[in-house]
Symmetry: C2
């Protein structure tokens, strides 16, 4: 016990020294004018700076800029759903400080407490904003707290958190602090030195432990896995296999060191550094660049920093530390009446599930829920202009809170751009036998809002794409680095039936089989809040001799009465369309207005339903769900997903089987990918994408893009090759 305390003390000293070094190294060159805002380039590595010229007008021709050419300190909210401003966060920060006084606390989430839906729906431009409130999730003295702060009055309303088994997502500061913990243990250092790794070259990363029983209860823990960074940025390819360091996240105390796999060499992984600056083989370059060009600037406007208006669409767009991007109040203009019509009150990626399929000790727990465990938005860093988004993109910054409650700016977290991919919105050529030469085609231009979350090794690109025909395409793209496992094998001919749990990607490197699931919260409000969910079932019907045809496919519509009737497992051989309709509103010819979810990117989890990871990520039990709207049911893996037991999930809510016919309902869709890694994924995975559609179905009286104009030569940009090309 005494030894443990001594080590803990050593650890703290070690941490303090590091912090001191870090601070001295990063000391600001001049005093900040705005001490309440974390200064990028100085105080925080996750506060991402860029060379911006304050107040400069966007210049579309020469360099990408944000829409908001200012430093955000003077931002004021304009819309009930606008995220908290720096000034608002600072007010809340003061309230938090006064609340905890001398107690050590950490803020895990500090975001706008959105007003109730009816308040938002009633609000009109020019009205006063409803009272601005902050929703805070914090930890202090080993407990988790949720409270609401009224920003004007400072009033605090606290919620009971006793029903939650888990914890809030870890903060970046949690992660930053814990990565040093293993080095306080001499046995750890000895072990890695014995494997030929100089501790100064070792990097340990914190991986959420999941929950499998008592071992993951009662304290916040994290499991660290370490890598040899010597001479490469792609240390992921050099795992120190089999060593797992289990650490208490609240105290940074090392609880256990699992030390197996001493016989497994650290892969050489030569030539796997992917950085341009580290290039060690010829760069593959197409000499003539092809570029998306829009020299006049975009056709969209971003009003008051968050309200996006483009073509026939209008929606509120904001960054969120947990979801990444939140789309709210998506409305589309009716092509007949010219009126804006409600489509979706809110949509965002609610939770992820990434189970690795290796039951061995260093791997079995790798069953990540990236939104609830790490904060999907918190891990979304600045985008690379020109390569993450096309040249015509504009960028939006995020204001997030550090663990002490101080706001900071995450620059260029979202990009917004119009896309023309060379496809047609519609086209038709008339058959020459009709006698008239008709050839009509219209270009398809869409608007994309994009963010990219980098969850350690993996990168998730989330695109919300709006089309003028009313369709919303939601796409998830996976790229980045496949996490690998060290092995003693260098060739498959050495493997005699032993299970690898993956693919031998290179010498001593296995890419472990895994899945990715991303669940989306889609609060559809088609022309009003009361909607129904209709299973438009396609079935074989026999003609029984009444036709030369034996059979045909018949459509049967079934309205789901309760939540369980809307737990949908897709079937190729028993197909349906899935419509969200407004039963109270019909088109001129009498069809209920609606949108359908068009599934794609389907994969079903093969884990046992009672396996703890599967219970926690039970949103993967069905591809489609519909629940009764409940403001508190937003995170499909649970509000406190970290080490949760799975008692606050979409499955649990849906199993209440509440009525959903002609009610305010929420649609949930789970995109899935099975991933058996292959050598092409090594050492950097080419992007793989899948997406689903939200598509108008008898929502418009007719095709809303029938009257869209074609491209004509004389209106297109006039371009010449760059002098340096």
């Amino acid at each position: 016990m005494e030894r443990k305390n001594f080590l803990r003390c050593l650890l703290f000293i070690f941490g303090a020294v590091l912090l001191l070094i870090f601070t001295v190294y990063n000391l600001p060159n001049e005093l900040s004018n705005n001490p309440e805002l974390l200064e990028c380039t100085t105080n925080s590595p996750w506060c991402i700076s860029k060379n911006r010229i304050l107040g400069k007008k966007p210049n579309f021709l020469h360099q990408p800029t944000t829409t908001l050419g200012h430093d955000h300190t003077a931002d004021v909210p304009h819309h009930p759903l606008d995220p908290l401003t720096i000034q608002e966060m600072n007010k809340v920060h003061k309230v938090i400080k006064s609340l905890y006084k001398d107690t050590v606390y950490s803020v895990h989430s500090l975001v706008l407490e959105e007003p109730d839906k009816e308040v938002v729906l009633k609000w009109k431009k020019g009205d006063d904003l409803p009272p601005r409130k902050a929703s805070v999730i914090a930890r202090a003295s080993g407990k988790s707290y949720i409270f609401t702060v009224d920003i004007e009055t400072g009033e605090v309303v606290q919620q009971d958190t006793s029903q939650f088994s888990g914890y809030p997502y870890v903060t970046l500061e949690d992660m930053q602090a814990v990565v040093w913990a293993p080095f306080s243990r001499s046995d750890f250092n000895r072990s890695i030195i014995a494997r030929g790794v100089d501790p100064k070259n070792a990097a340990c990363l914190p991986f959420s432990s999941g929950w499998f029983g008592e071992a993951e209860e009662g304290r916040r823990i994290v499991k660290l896995e370490c890598f040899n960074t010597e001479g490469t940025a792609n240390f992921y390819m050099r795992p120190i296999e089999g060593i797992i360091v289990i650490v208490d996240l609240d105290t940074n105390e090392v609880l256990e060191i699992v030390d197996k796999g001493k016989h497994i060499p650290i892969p050489k992984a030569a030539g796997t550094d992917y950085r341009l600056s580290a290039e060690n083989s010829p760069v593959f370059k197409l000499p003539n660049p092809v570029s998306m060009e829009q020299p006049n600037g975009p056709n969209f406007v971003i009003e008051n920093e968050h309200l996006v208006k483009w073509a026939n669409w209008e929606f509120h767009l904001k960054p969120d530390p947990r979801a990444g991007v939140m789309i709210s109040r998506a409305r589309v203009r009716d092509s007949e009446t010219g009126k804006m019509r409600n489509v979706m009150y809110k949509g965002f990626s609610s939770e992820l599930f990434v189970p690795y399929m290796d039951p061995e000790e260093a791997w079995y727990f790798k069953t990540y829920m990236d939104a609830g465990e790490y904060g999907f938005g918190l891990q979304s860093l600045a985008l690379d202009p020109l390569n993450d988004c096309p040249r015509n993109a504009q960028y939006m910054d995020a204001i997030f809170a550090a663990a002490d409650g101080t706001p900071y700016v995450r620059s260029n977290m979202i990009c917004l751009f119009e896309r023309y991919s060379g496809d047609a919105a519609w086209r038709h050529t008339e058959s020459p036998i009709v006698g008239e030469e008709i050839r009509e085609a219209r270009p398809k231009v869409s608007l994309v809002a994009r963010m990219v979350a980098s969850l350690a090794n993996y990168d998730y690109v989330i695109d919300w794409e709006f089309q003028a025909d009313g369709l919303i395409h939601v796409k998830v793209s996976l790229t980045g680095i496949v996490i690998v496992k060290g092995t003693s094998y260098v060739n498959m001919n050495q493997v005699n039936g032993e299970e690898l749990y993956g693919t031998l990607l290179s010498e001593n490197i296995i890419g472990v089989v895994h899945d990715h699931y991303v669940n989306f919260y889609l609060d559809m409000d088609i022309d009003g809040i009361d909607n129904s969910f209709v299973n438009v079932h396609l079935q074989r019907e026999y003609t029984n001799g009444k036709s030369p045809r034996k059979s045909y496919m018949k459509v049967n519509k079934e309205v789901a009465k309760t939540e369980k009737e809307a737990q949908i497992k897709l079937s190729l051989y028993n197909p349906s369309e899935f419509h969200v309709v407004n039963p109270n509103k019909k088109t001129k010819v009498g069809n209920p207005v609606g949108y359908k979810v068009v599934p794609a990117g389907t994969a079903a989890s093969l884990l046992d339903p009672e396996d703890p990871p599967q219970k926690r990520s039970a949103f993967t039990n069905n591809q489609i769900w519909v629940t009764q709207y409940n403001k508190s049911e937003q995170w499909s893996g649970g509000l406190f997903a970290y080490q949760s037991h799975g008692e606050d999930t979409l499955q649990v809510w849906s199993d209440r089987d509440r009525p959903i016919e002609n009610r305010d309902i929420v649609l949930w869709y789970t995109l899935g990918f099975h991933h058996v890694p292959c050598q092409e994924d090594f050492p950097m995975m080419p992007t793989v994408s899948a997406g689903f559609d939200l598509k108008p179905v008898n929502f418009f009286e007719r095709n809303p893009v029938l009257r869209v104009a074609p491209y004509v030569e004389k209106e297109l940009p006039v371009c010449k090759a760059a002098a340096s090309a």
Copy 2:
């Protein structure tokens, strides 16, 4: 009988007069220099002209041109797979004429008889071409003939066709001639006049009859459905419902007139003319165009008119009257060795199946097989530059044969362009907790070969997209006009449980439920002709207490020994990857090199397997098939699909259950779409797309695009807005 002969005589006179009028109207202004080539703008409506300047060098900045800025009359073949040239076709034409002498004949297909695979594989640039041969399908005296013509010697080798129940696809001339047949019948004219249609405004279109039994045996028949064209180009929205005119295609004799539905009004369909010139409501226009720009010109070259070289890819590309686009000898450069490696010997869309789901008399037979019944390429017309393909596209012409064997030019049938859609080929941002700021992203640029077939109302866009990471994406997009059914209903509240077989789209208009299937022939030759098909099966495995995890997903690989083992019905809950591997070649770490087919756009036919249309299009019974290579098995619905009984289909070949392990094998993939029309599809359907991938899986030693260069500002085009924008 006498009356019938009289009418037939009248019909012929009527046809002859029309032909005379047509010829006089289109008389050439000057005598053609090349009387053996049909002159566009004069003799043939399906020979599509454009304003081209002979011999002009392509100018990428100002106007789209073909790659081949000449008139094709002097073209010579350079590659064993090059399509027949005009001169070659003329030689064959002479042989055909001498063969039939005074017998009336029609040429249904006149294409290159490709040399045997081993001959093509042995051939190298600089070698003499193997003997050039033509494959001809013709009809004369009520019989179908297949023969091969040696172009140099004129030698003819005839094939036995007695095993085929069906007929060759109809020619454009068949269709052109037959559309007048109904008007020779006074009862038909009376009937349409009684419905308020002036016969001069009626247009009748020929629809294939399918085969349902004796009624469709013994003679080539077609079913005509008629429309009121008065004041609109979109006559499809004005069906004269219930009238079906059955005509003998060889004699143009009207065999039967089905005249039902007299109570059904012809829909007004106001405002459904989609042409820009007919615009009758405001045109929806985004003021600032976004364009794909590549002012330096493309990075691809088309050597000798058909051999495409781009980035690390090389393939032979040619138009085909039946398949549309044929991709041959697709090879990719190995990123390690720099050597070209075989991927696919040949790929093309082999057959379509579009069954409508209405068993009533005027609709039950609508079960189209568009490649085998109409010629998918024959129906592929000139593309609209700027709107069908982006501005940086180049175009390829087709040389097809008219029904008498005369060659003609189908201009701009295929476009080829490089695409940048604003997506990343790969990207990664390193977590800030690691301490180093890393943000690397690379743009994804691909090469697209596109054609669009317009099958009467529908338009099918077929894209073959090649990526530098080795992936081939095959995409089918559906647009054009949904064929509709007239009804007396104007509102759904009038319908009392009566089955509509579709959706009420507008007053008196029903969009009938239907499916679309497109089957692709994919002769994969991964690093050689002998390949195996591997079912990489993902299954739940239990840990039985050996891990805190209960379960995981395990990979089991099963090599298909025979064709029946490779009849694959996809299952979401019993998933697999499907690899074509070369078992004789392994990567350095010992994985067999391969490509996988990544399914998407899946739909299963719900028709009874014994329903005649389903038997004929039995390729829809499975999503994936693998057969032993057989040069004659190319058309999955049968070589003579028209009125066929389904005895020459992929199902029949596959049921032979030949060995396929370590053999020359062909992969088949069926894309499917269920289509329940909605009001947004009226009167012009917004494009819907789905595609599958052919993706390298342990084919490369590592990611082949790791060293791809990022975009940098100074190398991108310099653009300004057009003066008129």
